[in-house]
Symmetry: C2
Subunit: 294 residues, 2 copies
């Protein structure tokens, strides 16, 4: 484990070829990040013809081929598709990989994907993943090598583990992210609170403001800030809501309860303590963000 923490040693399972399935913002950024971090093997892309053209033009991937061909010559297969497509890929990929090939993904929810992989992946080995990084704009044209820098990168395990795969973790660290290991269920519960709830809050606020004629005439930076996520297209959220609705419902219940508490305390001195607790929590979130280590 200490060897793997240092980040500079060479392990026994060095990758010579990596396939990225879905060369969009995340998949493309992973490819660029690997290259920038010193990966000298081949990077194969599997994506739609237009995306492949753009990815080759930008030198994000070295070559393109159909999934079945790519699977048979890769040490790592990185699934960066929408959740529903990842589930489909897991249904079909296993017969085409060499025994022991590592398959990981970048889907925003983990329980459904890890359960599907548990049923379908026999020859390969699957580790669920979720880099906590993103941008408002999508597509390979937005991909950048530093997208993961300073961000948590979750890997899931059904058991508490110090390390899941030395080579994968080494590269995640080399691209500037910090490895966080947790169960798929814990991941889904936490992101319901830190990612899915913020989206719904922003959408609800923008919708509430839409109903009030004239609100946009006085909207200042606070309203603009808090409605930024409401610009997100629904298509990425359909799969998230479909695969994490129980945890999201729980997060909404917790949040609404907290808001009702503040509402009851609006003119009470108690609310000052709530502000202090919340400010301390917001500072804690930022400490996590800037920290470069694990």
């Amino acid at each position: 484990v200490s060897e793997e923490r240092s980040g500079g040693d060479k392990g026994p399972h060095q990758w010579s070829a990596v396939t990225v399935v879905g060369v969009g913002l995340i998949g493309g950024s992973f490819a660029l990040a690997l290259r920038k971090a010193g990966f000298t093997g081949k990077i194969i892309g599997v994506s739609s013809p237009e995306t492949i053209r753009a990815a080759l033009d930008r030198h994000v991937i070295d070559e393109a081929m159909p999934l079945r061909d790519a699977a048979g010559q890769s040490d790592l297969i990185y699934l960066a598709q929408p959740i529903a497509r990842i589930l489909e890929t897991l249904d079909e990929i296993d017969p085409h990989v060499y025994p022991g090939t590592l398959i990981t993904d970048a889907g925003s929810t983990k329980s459904a994907i890890v359960a599907r992989a548990g049923k379908r992946i026999r020859r390969g080995r699957f580790i669920g993943g979720h880099p906590m990084a993103g941008k408002q704009s999508r597509g390979v044209g937005e991909a950048e090598a530093d997208l993961f820098r300073g961000r948590p990168y979750v890997l899931t395990s059904s058991v508490v583990a110090a390390s899941l795969d030395a080579e994968l973790e080494r590269w995640i660290k080399r691209i500037g992210a910090r490895v966080v290991i947790m169960t798929p269920e814990e991941h889904d519960r936490l992101v319901a609170l830190t990612s899915h709830l913020p989206q719904l809050i922003s959408t609800a606020l923008a919708a509430a403001i839409a109903n009030e004629a004239g609100a946009s005439r006085v909207a200042g930076p606070a309203a603009v800030d808090l409605t930024r996520l409401a610009l997100s297209p629904y298509e990425i959220w359909r799969d998230i809501f479909a695969t994490n609705s129980v945890a999201i419902d729980d997060a909404l219940a917790v949040f609404i309860h907290k808001l009702e508490e503040l509402r009851a305390e609006l003119r009470s001195p108690e609310i000052e303590k709530e502000f202090e607790r919340a400010a301390s929590s917001a500072r804690e979130l930022r400490r996590g963000e800037v920290s470069p280590g694990g």
Copy 2:
């Protein structure tokens, strides 16, 4: 009215001296903005000794004096104090101003302030104001001439009016803001939704996250974005809650209702329409923001 819209003409009531009471972020920025926009008269500051020292050092004001002395030699008195202090200043300032002196303020709620001015200001004339601009950091050290650029600047009137004071409106336009005229009650109802509600949402989200061990380990940009307001110090909110609790309670009710609607629709196709409506509202808010005109 058309003369006033052009922004370049000279009116009959040109100011030769302006007093800023409370030379913090907003008051200091107003002074710097006036100067940058070509104001050649005297700018007097009324503030605490440390603030005055910093404001003189930064050339934000030309000189400092006690409120009573400043009031008697100013054409405009600009109250940029906390709300509770503005109310106190309104209680004492009137006997010290020349008849017809314009008094305005930059307080974040308007009904209580305008009501107090209605009782106390007899010799002077009062127009409530609220520049929809701000920064996370406060104090005269953060003041900047461009703080109001591209932002709405609300002036309040109990009657629907095309223009309230030609010289005031001319300078507000010259500093880059756009004049928005509405009643104090409409202002307070709208900012409850666009400013006070976002603060409570951010505080509630940060508090909900604080209760969940491990959440900061996976927090990505969404959680960081939406908890930024939770860093605001409570002291500026005490007066806002005290003077606008009814409208804030209404805004909370509307928002919680909208969130419960989304919660019920999490796995229904209906939610897609909500996302589209919200995205369109969020875009509308941004259009308001970048527009340089009225």
